[in-house]
C-alpha cells in the first residue's frame, strides 16, 4: 500500500506543478488585472503543497527501503538485508531513487521560496515559482514516464540483489544528498534569473534576494564535493583524491559556475553592475548541473557513480536539457538587451578584480567542459580518445594559479575606483612571502614545478586572506567579511594540501610475512597477524598492523580485504591513521606465495589539508550566509519599527 500511496502523491505533486506553471503564466499575461490578482493568490499555496506531496512520496520510498519491501522492484534490485543506515541510503543509491530525491529537493525549495521570500516584487516571485514548476514538471514527467521507483514485482523476490559494496559506506549516506541540495539550489537561481528576465527587474534588490539561495547551494556543493573526494580517497583504496573522472567533473562544473555567480551577484547587490552577466551565470550554473545529470544518468559514460541506464532515459534527459537550456538562452538573447547596464567602474577596483575572477572561473569551466565532452564528440566520428590528468591538471593550473593572485589582491581594493599604489604595502608583503616560500622550498626539497608554485601561492594567499581585517576592530567586523576571509583561507589550506600530497607522498609496496617490519617515510609498520573476521553482511581477512611514527608509541591499524555476499564482490578496506601533518594509508593486498602478504603503504604529508580546506570554504560560506540573513532580519525589524512610529505620530 505504501508504494501505491507514494506513487499517488507523486502524480498529485506533478499535477500541482502543472497548475503552478499554468497560474504563473496566466498572471504574467496580465490582460485582466482582477483575474490575475485572484490567480496570483493561489500560486504560493500550490507551491507549498506541491513540495509537501513530493516529500511524502520520497518518505514512502524511504519506508519501502527501510522495511525491505521486496515486492517493490526497486528495493529488490538494489537492497538486501544490511545495516539499517545502508538500507536507507540505498534509496538514493540508484537511478530512480536519486531522481525522486532530486525532484523532492527541488519541490521543497519551491515551498521554501513561497513561504519565506519577501524581498522580490510579487510578479518576479510568481515568475520564479512558475519557472521552478516548469523545471520540476520535466523531472516529474521523466520519473513517471520512464523511471517509476514504485513499480511492483509480482511475485515478490525472496531476497534482494544487494547494494554495490563500494556504496555501502557512511560517506554515501552524506555526499549525494549534499550534492543534490547544491544542484537543486542552483535551480532556484535559474528560476530567479528567468523570473527577473521575464519581468525585466534585474535590480540590486533582486540580487540581494537571490544571493542567499546561491550561497546555500554553493555551500552544499562545496561540502558535497569535499565529502565525495574523501569518500573516493579512502573507499576506492588507490590513495588518490581527484581523478578527473567525468562524474567528478560533473560536480566540479556547476561549482565553478556557482562560484562565479556568487561573486557576480555580490557585485550586483552592492554596486548595481554586471546585470546581464549575473543573469547569464544564473542560467549557466543550473545548465551545468543539468549537463552533469545528463552525463552521469544517461549511460553515455561509465564510472563508479554512473548507474547503468537505458538509452530511452538518456534521450529524455537530452530533450529536457535542450528545452531548459535552449529556452533559457533564447529568452536571455531576446531580453538581455532590455536590461540596462548598471553602474560604471574602473578596472582597478573591487568590481574589476571580481570580473577577472569571473572570467578566469569561466575559462576553467570551459576547459573542464571541453575535456569532459571531447571524447564523446570524437567518438561520434569513430575516434576513441580518453582525456585524463595529463590534460586537465596542467591546463587548469594555467588558469587556476594566476587567479589566486587576483584572489589575494581583490578583497583589498575599494569599490568603483582604486589604485594599486594605495595598497602598495600589502602588495610588497605578498610578493616577499611568495618569494620567500618559493626560495625556502626550492632550496630544501626537489619537487616538481606545479607543486612548488602551488605551495608558494598557498603561503601568500594564507597571509593575504586575512588582510582585509587589518586596521579594523575584529569584533565589529561583519560576519560576511569573516566568511570571505575564512573561505579564502580555506582555498590556501586546500591548495597547500594538494601541492604537498603530490610533492611529498612516499609509497611502499611490499610482500611480508607475519612479524616483518616495513619503513615508509618516518613510519615503521609491523605486520602482526592476518586473521579472518566477519561483519553483518561480509567476511574479511584483516591484517593487524602495528605502526609507529618516528619511534613514537605504537598504534594498531586493521586494513581488510572484504568479501560481500550480495552481490558477490571483493573490496579492499583501507585503514588510515591521521596526524596533524599527514596521513598513513594502508591497504592489504593478496596473499603472495609462501605465506607473504602484499601490503601497500603511503605516507601522505598534509593530505588531510585538502579536505580541511574544503570544510573551511564551506564554513566561510555559512558565516557569510548567517551574516546576510542576520542583517536582513535587523533591517526588516527596523523598517517595521519606523512604520509603527510614523503611524503613532500621525
Amino acid at each position: 500500500m505504501i508504494a501505491e500511496f507514494g506513487l499517488a502523491a507523486l502524480w498529485l505533486a506533478a499535477a500541482l506543478a502543472a497548475l503552478q506553471l499554468l497560474c504563473g503564466a496566466l498572471v504574467l499575461r496580465k490582460d485582466e488585472p482582477e483575474v490575475a490578482a485572484v490567480i496570483s493568490e493561489i500560486v504560493r499555496p500550490v507551491a507549498v503543497v506541491q513540495g509537501v506531496l513530493a516529500a511524502v512520496s520520497f518518505l514512502a520510498l524511504l519506508v519501502c527501503f527501510g522495511r525491505l519491501d521486496l515486492s517493490v522492484k526497486l528495493v529488490a534490485m538494489n537492497s538486501h538485508t544490511m545495516p539499517l543506515i545502508f538500507q536507507l541510503a540505498a534509496t538514493w543509491g540508484n537511478h530512480e531513487g536519486s531522481m525522486l530525491m532530486w525532484v523532492t529537493i527541488m519541490a521543497l525549495a519551491g515551498t521554501l521560496i513561497a513561504l519565506i521570500e519577501r524581498r522580490l516584487p510579487e510578479r518576479t516571485l510568481i515568475a520564479t515559482l512558475a519557472g521552478q514548476a516548469f523545471v520540476a514538471l520535466g523531472f516529474y514527467g521523466f520519473i513517471l514516464y520512464s523511471s517509476n521507483p514504485f513499480e511492483r514485482l509480482d511475485p515478490p523476490a525472496a531476497e534482494g540483489l544487494g547494494l554495490n559494496p563500494a556504496l555501502q559506506d557512511i560517506g554515501l549516506a552524506f555526499h549525494p544528498p549534499m550534492l543534490y541540495l547544491g544542484y537543486v539550489g542552483l535551480s532556484v537561481a535559474f528560476s530567479f534569473a528567468i523570473g527577473a528576465l521575464l519581468t525585466r527587474q534585474v535590480t540590486p534588490d533582486f540580487a540581494r534576494a537571490m544571493r542567499p539561495w546561491v550561497l546555500g547551494a554553493w555551500i552544499c556543493l562545496t561540502l558535497g564535493i569535499t565529502a565525495g573526494s574523501y569518500w573516493a580517497y579512502y573507499e576506492l583504496g588507490w590513495g588518490g583524491w581527484w581523478f578527473w573522472d567525468p562524474t567528478e567533473n560533473a560536480s566540479l562544473m556547476p561549482w565553478l559556475a556557482a562560484t562565479a555567480l556568487l561573486h557576480s551577484v555580490s557585485v550586483l547587490a552592492a554596486r548595481d553592475a554586471l546585470r546581464t552577466w549575473t543573469i547569464m551565470l544564473g542560467v549557466i550554473a543550473f545548465s551545468m548541473s543539468m549537463v552533469g545529470t545528463f552525463l552521469v544518468r544517461s549511460g553515455i559514460l561509465t564510472s563508479v557513480h554512473a548507474f547503468a541506464v537505458d538509452p530511452k532515459r538518456g534521450a529524455f534527459i537530452l530533450v529536457l536539457l535542450a528545452i531548459y537550456i535552449g529556452g533559457a538562452l533564447t529568452l536571455f538573447a531576446v531580453r538581455a538587451g532590455t536590461v540596462a547596464e548598471g553602474e560604471r567602474f574602473a578596472i582597478t577596483s573591487r568590481e574589476g578584480a571580481l570580473v577577472v575572477n569571473n572570467v578566469a572561473l569561466s575559462a576553467l569551466l570551459g576547459i573542464v567542459l571541453v575535456g569532459t565532452l571531447y571524447p564523446l564528440v570524437t567518438e561520434a566520428y569513430g575516434v576513441k580518445v580518453s582525456v585524463g590528468p595529463p590534460y586537465f591538471t596542467p591546463v587548469s593550473a594555467m588558469f587556476f594559479l594566476p587567479m589566486l593572485v587576483v584572489l589575494a589582491v581583490g578583497p583589498l581594493l575599494r569599490w568603483r575606483r582604486d589604485s594599486l599604489e594605495r595598497i602598495q604595502g600589502p602588495l610588497v608583503l605578498f610578493f616577499v612571502v611568495a618569494v620567500a616560500a618559493l626560495a625556502g622550498i626550492w632550496f630544501n626539497t626537489s619537487i616538481g614545478f606545479l607543486p612548488l608554485i602551488g605551495m608558494a601561492l598557498a603561503a601568500m594567499l594564507a597571509v593575504a586572506s586575512f588582510m582585509p581585517a587589518r586596521g579594523r576592530s575584529l569584533r565589529r567586523l561583519p560576519l560576511a567579511v569573516w566568511g570571505m576571509m575564512i573561505a579564502h583561507f580555506g582555498v590556501a589550506v586546500g591548495l597547500f594540501g594538494m601541492a604537498a600530497d603530490s610533492a611529498f607522498t612516499v609509497e611502499k609496496l611490499v610482500a611480508v610475512r607475519e612479524g616483518e617490519t616495513v619503513e615508509v617515510g618516518p613510519w615503521r609498520a609491523t605486520l602482526k597477524t592476518v586473521e579472518p573476521v566477519a561483519g553483518p553482511n561480509w567476511t574479511a581477512l584483516e591484517a593487524g598492523l602495528a605502526v609507529s611514527y618516528d619511534g613514537g608509541p605504537g598504534k594498531l591499524l586493521s586494513p581488510q580485504q572484504r568479501e560481500f555476499w550480495a552481490p558477490v564482490q571483493k573490496t579492499s578496506e583501507s585503514a588510515l591513521l591521521t596526524r596533524w601533518n599527514g596521513q598513513l594509508y594502508t591497504v592489504l593486498g593478496d596473499e603472495a606465495d609462501d605465506g607473504r602478504w602484499q601490503l601497500r603503504l603511503w605516507w601522505k604529508p598534509f593530505v588531510t589539508w585538502i579536505w580541511y580546506g574544503g570544510i573551511l570554504i564551506g564554513l566561510g560560506g555559512l558565516l557569510s550566509l548567517l551574516g546576510r540573513v542576520g542583517t536582513d532580519l535587523k533591517r526588516r525589524h527596523a523598517q517595521v519599527r519606523i512604520a509603527r512610529r510614523k503611524r503613532t505620530a500621525e
Binding site: 559514460l301 560604471r344 570580473v355 585524463g388 610482500a511 593478496d590
Partner: protein, 153 residues
C-alpha cells in the same frame, strides 16, 4: 584610469578582456587535447604506431588467459593485453584491483619502455561485473572472445 570612459567603451573593454581570456582558454584546451589524441591506445595501435618512450598513455584491452605471471618478489606481475589483432606485454608492480582477472577488460596507465614492454603505474579494472572500459565497449563479443582465446591454444 578609466573613470572618464563612456559606459559603452567600458563594456567593450571588459568584453574584449573576457574574449581574449576565453579564446586563450580555447587555444590552450585545443593544444592540450591535441596531445590527448595519442593518449589512449589499443594494443594494435601501440604496435603499429608506438608512442615516444616515457610519454604517459593509457592502454586498453583484454587480459589474455593464462598470461598472468607473478615474480618471486610476490608483487610484480607480467601479463599480455590483447585486442584480437595484437598483444602487448605489460608489467605492473602493486596490488591489483579487486576485479582484475584473466579474460576481462583492463585499462593500464603508464609508459612504454624501450624494449616494447608497457610499464603500468596503475590498472583500472572494471568497478563491477557490468563495467567495460568505455573505450573498449565497441569490441564485439566475438572480438573479445577471439582476443581472449588467442593465447589459450
Amino acid at each position: 584610469m578609466s573613470q572618464r570612459l563612456a559606459p559603452k567603451h567600458q563594456r567593450l573593454m571588459l568584453l574584449g578582456i573576457a574574449l581574449v581570456v576565453l579564446v586563450a582558454a580555447a587555444l590552450i584546451a585545443a593544444w592540450g587535447l591535441r596531445n590527448q589524441a595519442s593518449y589512449f591506445f589499443l594494443p594494435a595501435d601501440l604496435v603499429a604506431k608506438p608512442p615516444a618512450p616515457g610519454q604517459a598513455i593509457r592502454l586498453g584491452g583484454m587480459v589474455q588467459k593464462g598470461s598472468v605471471k607473478t615474480d618471486a618478489d610476490g608483487l610484480t606481475i607480467h601479463f599480455l593485453v590483447g585486442d584480437g589483432k595484437a598483444r602487448v606485454p605489460v608489467t605492473y608492480s602493486g596490488i591489483v584491483p579487486d576485479l582484475f582477472t584473466e579474460g576481462s577488460g583492463v585499462v593500464a596507465e603508464g609508459k612504454l619502455a624501450p624494449g616494447g614492454t608497457f610499464v603500468a603505474d596503475s590498472l583500472l579494472a572494471k568497478h563491477d561485473e557490468n563495467y567495460v572500459p568505455r573505450e573498449m565497449k565497441d569490441m564485439t563479443e566475438a572480438q573479445k572472445r577471439a582476443a581472449v582465446a588467442e593465447t589459450t591454444k
